[in-house]
Amino acid sequence: MSIISVKNIHKTYNENTVPVHALRGVDLEISEGEFTAIVGPSGSGKTTLLNIIGGLDRPTEGDIRLDQTELSTLNENQLIEFRKNNIGFIFQSYNLIPVLTSKENVEFVMLLQNRPKKEMETRAKELLNAVGLSDKLDQRPAQLSGGQQQRVAVARALASKPRFVLADEPTANLDSKSTADLLDIMAKLNQEEQITFVFSTHDNRVIERARRVVTMVDGKIESDETFNR
């Protein structure tokens, strides 16, 4: 049984003025533990699709089921609550709260979940250690490089023990060394913690690492390939 199930999704922006059909009938099933890349030219609808899967935006038409939950049945507050407990997000940049240190940023989602202080501390340290930043616990984002910031973002995305992580072009602003490091970390966490990763990218080096590549063109899925690596 798939953990993410997307059925016949349509998304039209500016319905009343100049309609933009960003998604025109997308079907997608993703199983637990997959490491999936969504690729495609600019404007093909990758971001739109990820936002809708993540419950950040609503489709014009179609259904999304995450695990057992039908997203369309949730109101705004329930959706926020759902995101907090089930989804980890990594955005292209500026993921972090500037006034908090790395450790505090990672702890923040757990704080929202009312986890005990001890547990937050241990998990934050563990995760920052896993992304190779055990020496940067008390630095603020401004004192970190772009790659380091994205690694903190990965740690934060995992802190809430989500069912899956959605990442929209997480490496877009990184150099190739940082990109490779980040992918190593994501792949490792994917394997070790059995966390489902879905990410969009333009980057060939990233595509090469994915075990499943979903290609979008013009708001539709054009191809869906699985690799054994």
Binding site: N51, G54, L56, R83, E104, V109, L111, L112, S160
Partner: protein, 411 residues
């Protein structure tokens, strides 16, 4: 919760300069407003204390209808009233000061002027207002002594001194004619130009003879330990005296002009402070507009990762309150020593400007202003800032409530 406060505190220092400018505007507003209020409250307290302790007292008893035209014909019998008052012993009461007051023409040689003749029991007056400490020359009158004590301004005007005598003439009780010659036994100064211009004291018995009003009083001053007991004392006295025969008035009823002037003055400063705070409000609002615009992306991220909107709103509200309070508390702590200083060292206008001083004197003010150290003035400033910040916080909170993470994070 602690984390939310920490986050808010750090957030206000994100843009140090902007926070400092905003806080500084609040600082100056609070500084200005609390000094102004302290000065104003101090001046009025002084004024009221002066006027009540000098002469009027905190409250008076008259025959019903006396105060309206203050005719000596509406006098009351000393014996009757004392008999009535013997029945009550309100707490905080020190005693009653009998008075027989009316206007007269004072003359000496070719100079003359209107005076207020105050027939009083000077021993009791002494207890009430330390009359002797106001003596410039001479001494107080003995009981029943036929002499007069003249206010300084009046003495100057009539060009009289201690060895001289004063002729008083007036119309007495039931239109009897009243004339008398009294040697001047003392010169007194009230430090209040209005009173100094027109006062003279006679012993109460002498005054009763002069006005042909044996055993009669125009009123009695109620002498209290202090102002705070006023209401209780008045209630029990009013309960005893039949209102068709007597009127019992507190200082606010006795001097409606003073109360009105005070209200007018306070309304004026209310207006000034209102304008000041409106300016501050716009300043803070500008900061909030910029802050909200800059933080849209961050707000988007926070709701995306699962921060409830009310919690985010609360965090932002705390942040704004912090910013306001940094300024407000700096202002309050900055003002306290200033006010404390001027409580000890009243501002004497005459040192700075003769013109201003003489203007004040014309209106009966002694141009010395002690400040009033009233903690309420400061807490009310903090409260105003709190209200302003809370009202202004509505804006970012509305923005947050209608925020859509996808839109917020689109650049």
């Amino acid at each position: 919760m602690k984390q939310i406060f920490k986050l808010a505190w750090r957030n206000i220092w994100r843009n140090k300069r902007r926070t400092l400018i905003t806080a500084a505007s609040v600082f100056f507003a609070v500084l200005f407003a609390s000094s102004m209020k302290s000065l104003q409250a101090g001046a009025w307290n002084e004024m009221i204390k002066n006027v009540t302790s000098l002469h009027i007292g905190y409250a008076q008893i008259h025959a019903a209808g006396f105060w309206e035209n203050r005719s000596i014909d509406k006098s009351l019998s000393e014996e009757d009233i004392l008999q009535q008052l013997n029945e009550v012993e309100p707490e905080g009461l020190v005693g009653y000061l009998p008075r027989l007051e009316s206007f007269a023409l004072a003359s000496s040689g070719d100079k003359s002027g209107a005076v207020l003749v105050v027939g009083a029991d000077l021993e009791k007056e002494e207890q009430h207002s330390e009359l002797s400490s106001r003596l410039v020359e001479g001494r107080l009158l003995e009981k029943g002594e036929p002499g007069v004590i003249l206010a300084e301004g009046l003495a100057k005007k009539l060009n009289l001194g201690l060895q001289d005598s004063l002729i008083l003439s007036s119309i007495g009780y039931h239109a009897a004619s009243a004339v008398g010659l009294y040697p001047i036994k003392g010169i007194i100064s009230f430090n209040n130009p209005e009173l100094d211009k027109q006062f003279c004291y006679l012993d109460i018995q002498v005054a009763q003879e002069f006005y042909a009003a044996e055993g009669m009083l125009t009123g009695m001053v109620i002498h209290l330990e202090d102002n705070s007991q006023l209401d209780g004392v008045l209630t029990s006295i009013r309960g005893q005296l039949p209102p068709e025969d007597y009127e019992v008035m507190d200082w606010m009823e006795l001097m409606p002009d003073l109360v009105e002037a005070k209200n007018l003055d306070e309304a004026g400063s209310f207006l000034i402070l209102g304008i000041l705070y409106i300016i501050i409000t716009f300043g803070i609002f500008g900061t909030l507009l910029m802050m909200t615009r800059e933080r849209m992306y961050e707000f988007g991220v926070l709701t995306a990762i699962g921060m409830k909107k009310w919690l985010l709103s609360f965090a932002v509200w705390i942040e704004i309150i912090f910013m306001g309070f940094v300024g407000a508390f700096a202002g309050i702590f900055g003002t306290m020593p200033i006010v404390a200083y001027f409580v000890q060292n009243p501002i004497d206008m005459s040192k700075y400007s003769e013109d201003a001083a003489s203007t004040y004197e014309k209106f009966g003010f002694h141009p010395v202003f002690p400040m009033n150290f009233d903690i309420n003035i400061f807490t009310s400033q903090a409260f105003i800032v709190f209200i302003i910040c809370t009202v202004l916080a509505v804006y970012p909170i509305l923005v947050i409530q209608s925020l859509k993470p996808v839109q917020a994070m689109r650049k």
